[in-house]
Structures are given as C-alpha cells and as structure tokens.
C-alpha cells in the first residue's frame, strides 16, 4: 500500500510526478531548497518542506535529511524522479530499510546497472550483446591511465572513454587518435570524480554511424516484465539528447521484437521492478549492442506514453504499491517527437544562459504536450540544469508529427532568456531529420563549426522596428500595467448559446 508519496526531486519531473500522484489519489510531499522557494513544483504538492543547506549536496542529495522529512510527514513512498538520488543504490537501500516504499527497482538492480562496467559483465552473462571494449577497474590515477593506454591498443580508434558511474555525457570523451588519449582520459576522470566521486573510466569502441535506440521496459511483482517499444534518441549534442522520437523511423517489427526481447532479458537478469530503459546502439548493419540500463523514469518517457497510451509514471506508482501493471499487449499508434528546450545560446557553442522568463508562452493545440517546471515570471539561474521544458507532439504519421513540431516551435515564445528554440526549429528542416536517417553524429556533422541561425533580413528588420517602437511608445512601462488576464478566446460562458436544433 502506498498513500503518500514524497517526491525527492525538483522542476519539471517533480511536476510530472506530483500530477500523476494527484490523478492516482495519492497525497504528496515536495521538498525544496531555498533557491527553489518560488518554483512551480512546490505549488503542485499537498505539503512542501524546505531543505536546510545551500549546495545541491546539502539539499536534494542529502539522504538523511530527506528520509527524516519522509518520516516526519508520514510519507510511505519516495519517488526519486531522474538525476539526483534516482540511481543511488545506497539511498534506495536506506529508504527500504526505513520501511518506506522506493518507487523504482531494488538497490541490487541499481548497483548492477549503475556501475557501467558491472552492467557490461552482467549483460554479457545474460546473452545481451555489448559494445566491444574493456573494463578497467583501477582506481589509482597512474594505474588507470596505464591500463587505458594498454587497452587502447586492443580496442582501437576511434574509441570512447566512459565513467563507470557516469551518465548524461559527464565523464565521457571520444578519442580519435593516440595523441589525444591521455588528456581525454584525465579530463574524463576529473569530470567523473567531480560529478560522481568515482574516477573509474573504461574503454569502448566508438561505433560511428550508429543510432541510439532504447527500449522502455516495465516489470511488476506479479511476474510480468514487458517492453513498450523503442525510442530513438540519436540526435545528441555532447551526448545530451535533444530530439527524441517513437517509433524509430527505420525500425522493423522483427528488429523491434529482437531488441524488445533483449531488453526484457536485461531487466530479468537483475530482477528488475518498475520502469526502466535499456539503451542500445543500433549499427547500420542492423546489429545492436547494449549501452546501459537507466534504472529510473527517463526524461524522454513522454514519447512512449503518447504512442502506447501507457502512463508510465502512473504505472510506476501502481507497481510500487504492489499492484500488477495495468497495460495490455503492446500497441503503438502514430508518431511522437520530443525536443528539449534549454536555456542556452545555441549560436555561441550552446553555453548555458540565465535570465528572467519575461515572457513564456508555450504552444497549444491538438497533439501538443508540454512538460515543464517553469512559468512566466520565473528566473533561470545557474543553480540547476538549464532544461526549461520538454515539448512533445503526437500525430498519426512521422511527417505530420514533424510538421506539428515545426508549428509548435514557431508558436513557442520565450523572451528574457536565450533558448535553443530556433536551433530545434531549424533541426526539423534538416534532410537527415526529415528522412529519419539520423545517427549520433548528426549534429556534429551538420554544424561542425557551430550553429548560427539563418534569419531572413526582412524579419530582423521588422523585429528591430518593433524594438524601436517599443522604446518610443514606452511599451515596457505600460506592459506591467497591462491586463495580465488570459489571452485567446473569451471564456466559454460568456458566449454560451442555447441554440437547439
């Protein structure tokens, strides 16, 4: 039984989970750091508790503090979201020991999958294909560098150095020639130590021209482990996904079945419970290799939800409560695309941007979903990840979904903070994206020297004129006084017409 869920996260994913809890009739507790005191997710919770401390380590990563809040508020489950403590086996263990339900897999499953090297070994044993490469267990810098150097001769170039505790592209380096190896290895170790407190880095062959295809799995305590089809997330920048879709444009039913079965085998090999994602590289040859398993809900889960009709977070809550999952046989319908809106300057090497969301007006209309944790008037700060929102569209076909995404991005207005909206919009016009022939090097190949917007002169001139008119007419002074009421069509009640046939 679960009746009150503490959401140990913030921002967009906290909002997503809190809403799912409300829909499931569960009481909720949010936790927040002082610099999140005005954030939207707090308002969506029944109770919100301020975390003491300033740094992320003292707040959202403070296991003891979060556990004591759970006890104090009577929460009987903790949902970790993604990032933060979501893949920390020690936290999952502490939560379980405190007789609180962890919304996620067992600590043992997290451990086996969380350590990328152990995961490779476990998957090999389960018969799931892994990328050619070598595990390197040395913790000591000198030993590790020596072992990496030695492994490089056997693995061959180009190769990828990956932090064993890594994720989100942190502690990862592509190495194309031997003279880059040592600097890359030291950089990867440094980043891994800073981000995860574990500098172990292993070596994998870099499979260029591959697609990143991942399989969503769900497993409950009633003996059922299923897959919910694939998502393609090949379009990445520095190993950060920016454009995700389901299904994969080049997928065949046979390949989906084979990858789905491998993903189910991977989950079963660690007695998985809840929602998880098995990531694969899909080579042009049609061969696929296990990359890693994410033992949590994923950022891009909405595209699967839109094509399968399954509410993944709701299923997580159901499974955590000990109930069987509610989904029937896999049915995929239409096509869904997600883009990640970041506060970043795409034209300036994608540097994170900060500033106020003076105007934040997301698109609406059929087939458009927005998952966000911000609203107009909020401030984008350097304290947290710069992701502002996920914009997801659904349409009956891939072409129509892409058209809908273009339309939605054109309507999306964010002023006061630089965002990557225009970059995402132009991405939708690239031939590779239109054809679905994307791979993990798409962005680097399309814009090897960085991206800059192509702006028609007439539009820029009109915008300059708008700024000049704004200044001349003093619009910035009248704007504050202007009615803040909702725009668009008037309230339905004021136009109610009782015209019966």
């Amino acid at each position: 039984m679960v009746s009150k869920v503490l959401v140990a996260n913030r921002g967009e994913i906290a909002c997503r989970i809190l809403r799912a809890c409300h829909e499931a009739g569960l009481a909720t507790v949010a936790i927040y750091a002082q610099n999140d005191a005005d954030s939207m997710f707090i308002e969506l919770a029944d109770e919100a508790v301020l975390l003491t401390g300033d740094t992320i380590g003292e707040t959202y990563l403070d296991q003891q503090q979060i556990l004591s809040i759970a006890n104090r508020t009577g929460a009987d489950a903790i949902h970790p979201g993604f990032g933060f403590l979501s893949e920390r086996a020690d936290f999952a263990r502490a939560v379980t020991q405190a007789k609180i339900q962890w919304v996620g897999p067992s600590p043992e499953a997290i451990e086996k999958m969380g350590d990328k090297m152990t995961a490779r070994i476990t998957m090999r044993a389960a018969g799931v294909p892994v990328i050619p490469g070598e595990e390197i267990e040395h913790e000591d810098e000198t030993d590790a560098l020596e072992a990496i150097e030695s492994a490089s001769h056997r693995v061959g170039y180009p190769m990828l150095l990956k932090a064993s505790s890594g994720g989100g592209g942190k502690g990862m380096r592509a190495v194309h020639s031997p003279d880059q190896l040592m600097e890359a290895a030291m950089g990867a170790r440094r980043e891994a130590i800073a981000a995860f407190g574990d500098g172990r880095v292993y070596v994998e062959r870099l499979l260029t021209g591959s697609k990143h295809v991942e399989i969503q799995v769900l497993a409950d305590r009633h003996g059922r482990t299923i897959h919910l089809g694939e998502r393609e997330c090949s379009v990445q920048r520095r190993h950060q996904k920016v454009f995700e879709e389901a299904p994969c444009a080049t997928m065949t039913p046979e390949l989906r079945e084979a990858m789905g079965q491998a993903a189910v085998a991977a989950a079963e090999a660690v007695d998985y419970e809840g929602a998880g994602t098995v990531e694969f590289l899909l080579a042009p040859s049609g061969e696929f290799f296990f990359l890693e398993m994410n033992t949590r809900i994923q950022v891009e889960h909405p595209v699967t939800e839109l094509v399968t009709g399954v509410d993944l977070v709701r299923e997580q809550l159901r499974i955590a409560a000990g109930e069987p999952m509610s989904c029937g046989p896999l049915m995929m319908r239409g096509h869904a695309i997600e883009v990640r809106l970041y506060a970043e300057d795409a034209a300036n090497n994608f540097l994170p941007a900060i500033g106020p969301l003076a105007i934040f007006r997301p698109p609406e209309g059929p087939g458009v979903r927005l998952d966000t944790g911000v609203r107009e008037g909020d401030e984008v700060t350097p304290n947290y990840d710069p992701m502002l929102a996920k914009l997801i569209v659904w349409a009956p076909s891939r072409d129509e979904a892409l058209q809908r995404m273009r339309r939605a991005l054109d309507e999306f207005i964010v002023l006061g903070t630089t965002t990557n909206i225009r970059f995402l919009r132009e991405l939708c016009d690239e031939a590779e994206v239109i054809s679905g022939q994307t791979d993990t090097t798409t962005i680097d190949r399309l814009w090897p020297h960085g991206w800059s917007p192509s702006v028609p002169r007439s539009i820029e001139d009109a915008a300059l004129m708008a700024a000049a008119v704004g200044e001349s007419a003093g619009l910035h002074r009248t704007q504050q006084q202007a009615s803040k009421g909702p725009e668009g069509p008037a309230s339905p009640f004021s136009t109610l017409n009782r015209r019966f046939p």
């Binding site: 520095r238 994170p352 207005i413 964010v414 225009r422 000049a468």
Partner: protein
C-alpha cells in the same frame, strides 16, 4: 523617434515615425496592442504579431518564429571595450589554469577550463598572443562576464 541598438557589426540606427496610433518604418506599420504585443502590417498587407519584453537595456522580440535580443545604446553612452580580455561566458568555477603570464600561445590553445552546470568549458585563445595577466586561480568562483585572462596579440 531615433534609437540605436548594438550588433556584432556595429551600432544599428532605427528611426520610427508616429502616425496616429501606429508607427511607421518604410512601408511597415506597427500598432501597439493593449496586451503589449505589436500588430505589424507588412508592405504586402500581411499581418504578424510581435511579442516584446524589455529586460534591463535589452529588448527581446519574438517575430515570425525568430527571437531577437537587441541591446539598446543609451543616447550619449560610449561603447566600453574590454581591451581584448577573455571573459567568463557564464558563472562557474575555474577548474584549471593552463597558462602562465608571459607565455606565448597559439590560436586555439586552451587557456583555462571552467566548470558550470557540471560541464567543463574551455577558454580558448582566439588568436596567437602572449598572456599578459591571469586573473583567477583554480577553484575560484567567477561571475559571468568577468575578465579571466588578458592576451596581447603577437
């Protein structure tokens, strides 16, 4: 009315003329709406709405799917120059300083490594030069826009 905005190529001068409720520039007509938007009518009669917001000295404009950021030059202000300093692109922490004062560096050399939002960012020499000053040490916190190092062209 006459206004100046900054651009990478130099100041852009814009003069708009008032015409009743509307403003004109060439054959574009713009009319402020009560909600703060501008109704813009193009030479071909096409109608589009510009959304705007002013933050500090910067006008943010969204028009036809494009977002612009125009920094207004206050009348009489002179354009301050940072003297070739290399500035922090964002707030963060200095991870590594890879050069010393007096060192000659080639264009493309990594001078400093910053960490912000858990990612590493390299500060790279844009041209060949000699390092004339290093303003921060490893582990120092830096604000956005501060000069990190100074480089003199060689």
């Amino acid at each position: 009315m006459h206004h100046q905005f900054k651009s990478p190529e130099g100041p852009i001068e814009v003069t708009v003329a008032r015409d009743g409720d509307a403003w004109r520039l060439g054959d574009i007509e713009a009319t402020p709406m009560t909600d703060g938007r501008l109704r813009m009518v193009g030479p071909d009669g096409s109608v589009n709405f510009a959304h705007m917001a002013k933050v500090g000295d910067v006008w943010w404009v969204h028009h036809q799917g494009h977002t612009f950021r125009f920094e207004r030059i206050e009348p009489g202000a002179t354009d301050a120059d940072d003297g070739g300093g290399l500035t922090a692109p964002m707030p963060g922490k200095v991870l590594q300083v890879l050069v010393e004062v007096g060192q000659s560096v080639a264009a493309g050399t990594t001078l400093m490594v910053l960490e912000a939002m858990k990612m590493e960012h390299r500060i790279v020499a844009a041209s060949d030069g000699i390092v004339t000053a290093v303003h921060f040490n490893a582990d120092d916190q830096v604000e956005q826009g501060v000069a990190l190092l100074s480089l003199e062209d060689s």
